[in-house]
Symmetry: C2
Subunit: 207 residues, 2 copies
């Protein structure tokens, strides 16, 4: 019995999380009324408060789930893995409500009085991990501070995404991400590694 209850609770949490992502993606934080979320999830107010404490709690959970939504889809390593993270992210942002809502909430959080760097710091950690591996593989220029590079890539992706959203509703984000790497690789990678990188934006679909 206990097991069944736990499973049901997990399903309820997942329904709420998913509905929250969809509604935050579509309406932003302020426009996402709690009733809209509960209706879409088909659950009660008390479930929301039990699992996430508040609308803000749910928003933070969605905001901070971005890295998990990507990491499981990668098979490459080192510098190519770092590139792939950004290409998969750029492609999946076209359709995945969790990523879309996560990015929207991260960027707009100041407007609803939240200042939570968790998602950015998780991305930084993951990207720094790829860079450490790339360094061990001899792919990087030797004068780099890897934490700084990771922080710059997180920031640059965030801003390129914002720009793409304003000028094309994000449709050209994959192409812009490829261009970012074309500009960045000479400053980051040794020439042989730069030449070896696969920058096909469709890696974002097949990777």
């Amino acid at each position: 019995m206990r097991h069944v209850t736990q499973e049901r609770a997990l399903r309820t949490r997942e329904k709420l999380f998913r509905a929250g992502a969809e509604v935050f993606d579509e309406f932003g934080y302020s426009g996402a009324g709690i009733n809209k979320i509960l209706e879409r999830a088909g659950v009660t107010t008390s479930a929301l408060y039990f699992h996430f404490e508040s609308k803000e709690g749910l928003a933070k959970a969605v905001m901070n789930a971005q890295p998990q939504a990507i990491e499981g889809m990668l098979h490459s390593e080192g510098l190519q893995r770092l590139v792939d993270i950004t290409l998969v992210w750029a492609q999946r942002l076209q359709t995945d409500p969790v990523l879309r809502a996560g990015v929207r909430l991260s960027v707009e959080q100041g407007a609803f009085g939240v200042r939570d760097a968790t998602a950015y710091l998780s991305w930084r950690g993951i990207m720094e991990g790829c860079l450490r591996e790339a360094e061990r593989n001899g792919e990087l220029r030797c004068d780099l501070d890897l934490e700084e590079v990771a922080e710059f890539v997180v920031g640059a992706c965030t801003g390129v995404q914002l720009y793409a959203q304003l000028v094309s509703g994000r449709q050209d984000l994959p192409k812009r991400t490829v261009r970012m790497w074309e500009l960045l690789l000479p400053g980051v990678a040794v020439p042989e590694a730069a030449a070896r990188m696969d920058l096909d934006p469709m890696r974002g679909i097949s990777a």
Copy 2:
């Protein structure tokens, strides 16, 4: 008489603009009540509607005034001018309410239902102009699409700013901007031009 009236109207507009920038910077769009702005400006509601039509109109005016706030302060040319734009911007964002509010509103605009790329496109145009000059001066690698480079720099600055705001309240933005150029210059400039660039973050104060 007519002249005096026009001058007074301009002063009123300037007061409203300034008060709007300060209040938007401090409270964001939703938190910036019209009365708060009018009180700080010491003008009437009708003046706001006469000069800006609405709170949204005032917000757009502030958002799109960023480039003018910077351009007059520059004395360099070509690639150094592009670098200086970003260094001056990073420094002045510490204190200038017009820039601070402009950036905040640009980033958070989705949260209040606005989608206005004007400020980003002005920056792109200005930066592309610097790059064209740099190209004529032989400072750039020959395989670049200058519009794409300009768009990337606008996006990257936006994102680095957002990252800096979350982790340091923007204090380390000048340092992060210098690092951005250290990573980007090898992909953008010929080696001699890259070596010649002055990346002292204090150029943002003295330039």
